[in-house]
């Protein structure tokens, strides 16, 4: 398996495509004419006046494999992500697409028997791959925090909420327990929990699912992390509680200026909460674009079929699950599909081709 060399986008290319550009419809016809000029790029630019802002998180060619008894599982194969400070990136995909593994790799929590086989993860320029456990402890909770899916399972059932949030604050901030307690109470208030002093003395089983998720978020932000990774934070919650938690994450992001990676299988949640969305399929990002662009003008066949699978009241009486939208690939390329005709997974690593400013699609040279 060889890594394909990658061309680097020239500044001229970027100058040709400033800003976010016009809406999807004209671009669609543009694409259909097959005269579109594509830029082969190594770096994925961050949209919106990001020229000056250095990326908070930069992932390049990340490969994560599992050496199992039954064979090699290529869980991630060539993931590239740039995240600007304060940005919200959604990672969507179906079961097994690798979205949770991406989060775990960023947190340094790759489960056995997985191992990172290549690539780099840089947080504000610092390489995270190959850090020792001791060094990791300085990163987790202080610079990157994680909110897990099932808050009640992620919280310790035999320790009070207070103990858990104080522990996080002492670890991350290096403050005294008394100061950490004050910090804990004020953080619990910040996430919208009523009577935070009483919550400090409660156990996780005394809380509802929504309250437990608020506690998880409080523990994640108490250390002042600049990057919060939320792995399916609302999947176990009812829609009315889900809306509350998503609004809380949005408000906190605005108030604290931290960046958020929101991992979800629910395209609706991603559409409503993320600046940009990456669609993952079989360990690869197949399409990445600002939310409005992705939903207004999906390009990759997988994204198109995923969107065609979503039922909605507007589609009553029409069959679902069959993509009716077919966008020809950029000239000289074919879409990277990962799945070979015999059912196995292609080891080829695709390029992210920019089809419109900020809109990237996984392709392979024809």
């Amino acid at each position: 398996m060889t890594r394909q060399p990658r061309a680097i986008s020239s500044p001229v290319d970027n100058a040709l495509t400033p800003g976010l550009g016009p809406g999807g419809s004209s671009l669609m016809s543009h694409l259909l004419n097959e005269n579109v000029q594509v830029h082969r790029v190594t770096s994925i630019q961050i949209p919106e006046n990001s020229a000056a802002a250095a990326p908070l998180l930069q992932i390049r060619g990340l490969r994560l494999h599992f050496h199992t008894k039954t064979g090699l599982v290529r869980a991630l194969e060539g993931i590239d992500i740039d995240l600007a400070p304060g940005e919200c990136l959604g990672i969507v995909g179906e079961t097994g697409s690798g979205k949770s593994m991406t989060a775990r790799a960023i947190m340094g929590l790759v489960p056995h028997p997985g191992s990172i086989e290549g690539g780099s993860i840089k947080l504000e320029g610092q390489e995270l791959i190959k850090l020792s456990q001791k060094e990791w402890r300085k990163i987790r909770g202080r610079q990157i925090s994680m909110v897990f899916q099932e808050a009640k399972r992620a919280l310790n059932p035999v320790s009070t909420i207070g103990n858990q949030i104080i522990e996080a604050a002492v670890q991350a901030q290096g403050v005294s327990r008394a100061r950490a307690k004050e910090l804990g109470i004020s953080t619990l208030a910040k996430v919208g929990l009523p009577d935070p002093a009483r919550i400090m003395d409660s156990y996780s089983f005394e809380l509802s699912g929504g309250m437990a998720q608020r506690v998880m978020i409080a523990i994640a932000i108490v250390g002042g992390s600049k990057l919060i990774i939320a792995d399916e934070p609302t999947s176990a919650l009812d829609v009315s509680i889900q809306a509350q938690i998503l609004r809380l994450l949005r408000d906190l992001r605005r108030d604290l200026g931290s960046a958020l990676i929101l991992i979800t299988h629910d395209l609706g949640v991603a559409a409503e909460n993320c600046d940009r969305i990456a669609v993952m399929y079989l360990g690869q990002i197949v399409e990445m674009a600002p939310a409005q662009m992705l939903f207004g003008n999906p390009v990759h066949p997988y994204t198109c079929s995923l969107m065609a699978s979503l039922p909605s009241a507007a589609d009553r009486g029409k069959p679902i699950g069959r993509a009716t939208r077919h966008v020809p690939p950029p000239a000289g390329y074919r879409y990277s599909t990962r799945r070979l005709p015999d059912g196995s997974i292609s080891p080829e690593i695709s390029h992210m081709i920019e089809v419109e400013p900020g809109h990237f699609v996984a392709c392979l040279p024809e």
Binding site: G24, E94, T95, S208, G210, M211, D238, V239, S240, I241, Q242, A243, Q244, L246, R247, R250, H265, D266, L267, G268, V269, A270, A271, E272, N273, A291, Q292, M293, L294, F295, G296, S305, L306, M307, A308, S309, L310, P311, S312, A313, D315, R316, P319, I320, G321
Partner: protein, 351 residues
């Protein structure tokens, strides 16, 4: 033996006698003992009131949806429809006969169920074929060879092949397992099918295929379906009539297009607003429902939704349970509509 009461909802049209109907159905679960000390026990035994006085009917060929959040009683109601959970009040009738009076075998021939989690609803020690054929054995239908032929036909009907006949559940994916569960439910050729969140454990691409299969089967077999889901996007796509439940009661029921175009009950409107929509430019900053769902043990007095309602009109909401009222083709339980005839609000007024 058959006692026709006047409790039947006015809306139910009885021309078609093949109808599965809940009449004033309540299900409650008493909570025993509040501790090991008898003195600490409360005098009145509290109960989880999962379903309270629900009227709902499904005619053959019709797809009726029940939507609501967890704990609203939608699954308990579904189980009451197939007598997996006996109603503690009211009754479920099948074409006029209370199902409690029907022999179990007769009931199961007519009403079948597909469960939520295809990973836990199939016996791991039996092959797909024997799971599907079991009903035929229990109901003493056909010879062994005929049963096998029927089961294979049914496998093919749900999109699998004869090659799958001798495989065990662990060899199938989630979507394939749900196909087996559907085949098992349909092998007796029932008239009614209760589907309790049949796709909530599946990915959207698999869900699309299962939904297409259910829709196809319903049309060809003229099944009456009761479809339980918390996903309003799916409900809006699939069902003909919708009942929205909150804390054990139906708050709004009617044709799904009407409810989606203009939800009347404040809870329906809030639920629809809270449902994320996967469309371009969906980013909104709407106010979500405040607070959490109250406990089913201490259901709020008056209108159960008054603790979270943004359209409270006064003390009446806290004290008096609103009576169901027909407004704009729908039955709504809300004091907002309890005055003399109300003109339907313009589209989206409550959204």
């Amino acid at each position: 033996m058959i006692i026709q009461t006047s409790a039947a909802p006015a809306a139910a049209t009885m021309q078609d006698d093949e109808v599965l109907e809940a009449r004033n159905v309540s299900v409650s679960f008493p909570i025993r003992g509040q501790g090991i000390w008898p003195l600490n026990r409360q005098r009145e035994i509290p109960a989880v009131r999962a379903v309270q006085s629900v009227n709902l009917s499904v005619r053959r060929g019709e797809m009726v949806g029940i939507a609501g959040e967890s704990g609203c009683g939608k699954s308990t109601l579904a189980r009451a429809f197939v007598r997996l959970q006996p109603a503690t009040g009211g009754s479920v009738t099948l074409s006029g006969t209370p199902i409690d009076n029907l022999p179990a075998l007769e009931l199961r021939e007519q009403v079948q169920m597909v469960f939520q989690d295809p990973y836990n609803s199939l016996n791991p020690r039996r092959t797909a074929g024997s799971i599907i054929m079991e009903s035929l054995v229990v109901h003493n239908r056909g010879t062994s060879a005929e049963r096998r032929r029927l089961a294979v036909q049914m496998l093919e009907r749900v999109g699998l092949t004869e090659a799958h006949f001798d495989r065990y559940p662990h060899e199938f994916s989630g979507g394939q397992r749900q196909r087996i569960a559907i085949a098992r439910a349909l092998i007796l050729d029932p008239k009614f099918l209760v589907l309790d969140e049949p796709t909530s454990a599946l990915d959207v691409s698999v869900q699309a295929k299962i939904i297409a299969l259910i829709e196809d089967l319903r049309r060809h077999l003229r099944l009456g379906c009761l479809f339980i889901s918390h996903d309003l996007n799916l409900i809006g796509y699939l069902v003909d009539r919708l009942a929205v439940m909150y804390l054990g009661r139906i708050v709004e029921t009617g044709p799904v297009e009407r409810i989606f175009a203009n939800p009347l009950h404040p809870y329906t409107a809030a639920l629809m607003a809270a449902t994320p929509k996967p469309v371009a430019g969906a980013q909104t900053d709407r106010a979500p429902l405040e607070g959490e769902i109250p406990s089913n043990v201490r259901v709020p007095k008056g209108c159960p939704f008054h603790t979270r309602c943004t359209k409270r009109i006064g003390a009446i909401c806290d004290t008096v349970l609103p009576a169901p009222r027909m407004v704009d083709d729908r039955e709504v339980r809300c004091h907002l509509y309890n005055e003399a005839p109300i003109a339907p609000a313009p589209n989206g007024a409550l959204a």
